[in-house]
Symmetry: C2
Subunit: 412 residues, 2 copies
């Protein structure tokens, strides 16, 4: 018997009527002969209500109690979904994290999954249960306390179940209909991708963040879980959504899969830093401690024994970064002439596993930007991605130009 | 270390501010040197919201899933109460039913408590925990599914914990300030009782239903748990509320503790029933099967070989009772001349453990009613209670007259 995992997000189960609509999709898969594990989020708005009460109660809350309170939203949906399926004469049963049990470490609020023993659910499946409805986002710690998995926890739950049960696929139902070549709000030529490789999905995080949490994609990649992202509001179709899969399952590749962007970036340059071994650690250590998410890093030689160090970070972390540098200078750990911040930049990236086997992608990218008179401030590359920092006012233009240059409107 | 159990109902924990007020009462008991077990209900309105969703989903719901959904309300309050106590620097921890574990049978929706192992909480108390906040109304079945205890479940949870932990007392905080000699809406002379015996409390169910569920009083009586009922809205006072306790702890007794009433009763008489062995079973068997709550029963001999059988039941069950009798007659199981229903009667009762040792209570009662020209239609007695059926229009008058006759306005 092949197991299918289906995950429904908060908006997909936001009312009892929406739960019924989701249950119909589950029913179709049961009719197709699958045993189904359904992972549910809390009804939309419910988690916020619970978090609001916790905030009213205790601003610096104990994460163990936060988890005990907040996990209850998913339990409600799980029970209601099981009842809805039973109304459709489908043998279904709800499972809370501790009942499965989904075992995690003790990092409350951001717990990591350690194991999902399959015995309990397998026994019930063997006994005639067709659907196990599992409350997402939660598990149980070694101390027997309820844990939650943090941001994207329900997606991660779904992938972890798919891995543990060797599921044929993990379908993530959400409020968008798949992964696009770029943001459709920036160019109407943006096209839904039928398939995308795990590595590409990870690099397209800025596009994909609203679709799939990075953590769940990493897990799917590690355990080779086929992930499908699709809308719970569209009519059903075998080819609906986007399949996130191993690159060996993607037959024809465009060189580039998509164009990603990150609007609110800042470029910071430490001018005339003493160039000595360990200087990078002396700079980026304090930044990390201050919670600054440093992204791109470029080092230029400026004069004998001195260098300029440039890095990018989110625009709202500029003050924090500047203070961390100033403090390090006061402590005598680093020495620099000036700190220059450019807070009017954006990052634009092209991503594609095809880059590994195709030369000239960078040249094509730079030419497209030059043709639009877009000046490039910083460049970084990885094996399957090229990113540039540019003035923010050109961001949309750059995304459109690159989408055209790599002909992403054409089917892959 | 003496353990104290404190239970807060839904209105007492209806908002985060009310939870803070309740937590202050808990804090005072901790300062008094007690380890405290707090039992909480769901925030008022929350259980109804959850039940509403279940009803929308599945009119004939699976009780296992109903329990999984509905129990989540208490879990939320337990976490919020633990957080509130922690904010007051009191070491507190929340416990859901399965974590304690509170073990029940598998009768979902109306489960019976089977045992409460104390090891887990004892270990935490020994470790420095001062307050265990337990989600009321819920437990875990032998199959590892969540169960709920049904009506009055949180009171029952509180008493069961008090019994299991040998608590010095079980304080039930609610929205009334104690048990009264009678309903204060009927006579302003009604007086709050400082103490009442378990047996009296059970007999005063019609007064006490809003205060304490019968089931929790029965449990308290069996395990000799001292129960105190008090208002969570009044200022604190050592003598607040009413203590429900063993009769040996009540030093001075009025003969009568209180006057109870049940307004909407009906008196039904089967005229001229064939009087033979087994006739009572032939009548009351079908009534029980039809779900009629028969209360008082009187049998009069009317003529040779025939009898009149009179019983009382709630007025809204008259049609059901009449149909059950008609059906039994059709089946030839009973034979009667006529069925006469008087739907304009009420029951008034005087209750007191002092009746055991004092004669003349009935005479005093009947005299008081006669002095007001109240005609008595049916009389029944138990060891500590005398009940009469009277015309409904005299009900308030009768309650006032009896309250005066037994001088209940005076302290016991």
């Amino acid at each position: 018997m092949s197991v299918l995992v289906m995950k429904f997000g908060g908006t997909s189960v936001g009312t009892t009527d929406r739960i019924k609509r989701a249950a119909k999709r589950v029913g179709r898969e049961v009719a197709n002969g699958h045993d189904v594990i359904v992972i549910v989020s809390a009804m939309s708005g419910k988690t916020n209500e619970l978090v609001g009460w916790v905030d009213e109660t205790s601003p610096l809350y104990d994460a163990r109690e936060y988890d005990a309170v907040v996990s209850s939203g998913e339990n409600v949906t799980a029970g209601l979904m099981a009842l809805t399926l039973q109304e459709m004469d489908i043998p279904a049963r709800s499972w809370q994290g501790w009942q499965v049990p989904l075992k995690t470490n003790g990092a409350h609020g951001a717990a990591r999954i350690e194991s999902i023993p399959t015995a309990n659910l397998d026994a019930r499946f063997a006994d005639g249960m067709k659907v196990a409805v599992v409350a997402g986002f939660q598990g149980i710690s070694p101390e027997g306390r309820i844990t939650t998995l943090g941001r994207g926890g329900s997606d991660t739950t779904a992938v972890a179940f798919a891995a543990a049960f060797g599921a044929m696929r993990c379908d993530i139902y959400t409020d968008v209909d798949g992964v696009y070549t770029t943001d459709p709000r920036i160019t109407s030529k943006a096209r839904k991708l039928d398939r995308i490789a795990f590595e590409e999905m990870l690099e397209l995080a800025s596009l994909g963040a609203k679709v799939l949490q990075t953590r769940s994609v990493e897990l799917a990649m590690r355990y080779k879980v086929k992930l499908r992202v699709l809308s719970s509001f569209d009519e059903y179709d075998e080819t609906a959504g986007t399949l996130v899969c191993g690159e060996d399952e993607i037959m024809e590749n465009n060189v580039v899969a998509g164009v990603a962007y990150s609007r609110d970036e800042a470029k910071m340059t430490l001018i005339s830093v003493a160039d000595r071994p360990g200087i990078a650690a002396a700079i980026f250590g304090p930044l990390a401690e201050a919670g600054v998410n440093v992204d791109m890093i470029v080092q230029n030689i400026s004069e004998e024994g001195r260098t300029d160090m440039t890095f990018s970070c989110p625009v709202d972390q500029v003050k924090r970064a500047a203070k961390a540098m100033e403090d390090a200078k006061q402590r005598g750990e680093i020495n620099y002439h000036d700190l220059v911040a450019d807070t009017e930049v954006s990052k634009v990236s092209v991503v594609g596993i095809g880059m590994r086997s195709h030369a000239g992608v960078a040249a094509r990218m730079f030419k497209a930007l030059r043709d639009e008179n877009v000046n490039i401030k910083v460049i970084t590359t990885s094996e399957i991605k090229i990113s540039v920092l540019i003035d923010r006012k050109y961001m949309e233009l750059a995304v459109q130009a690159l989408h055209d240059a790599f002909e992403l409107e054409k089917a892959r």
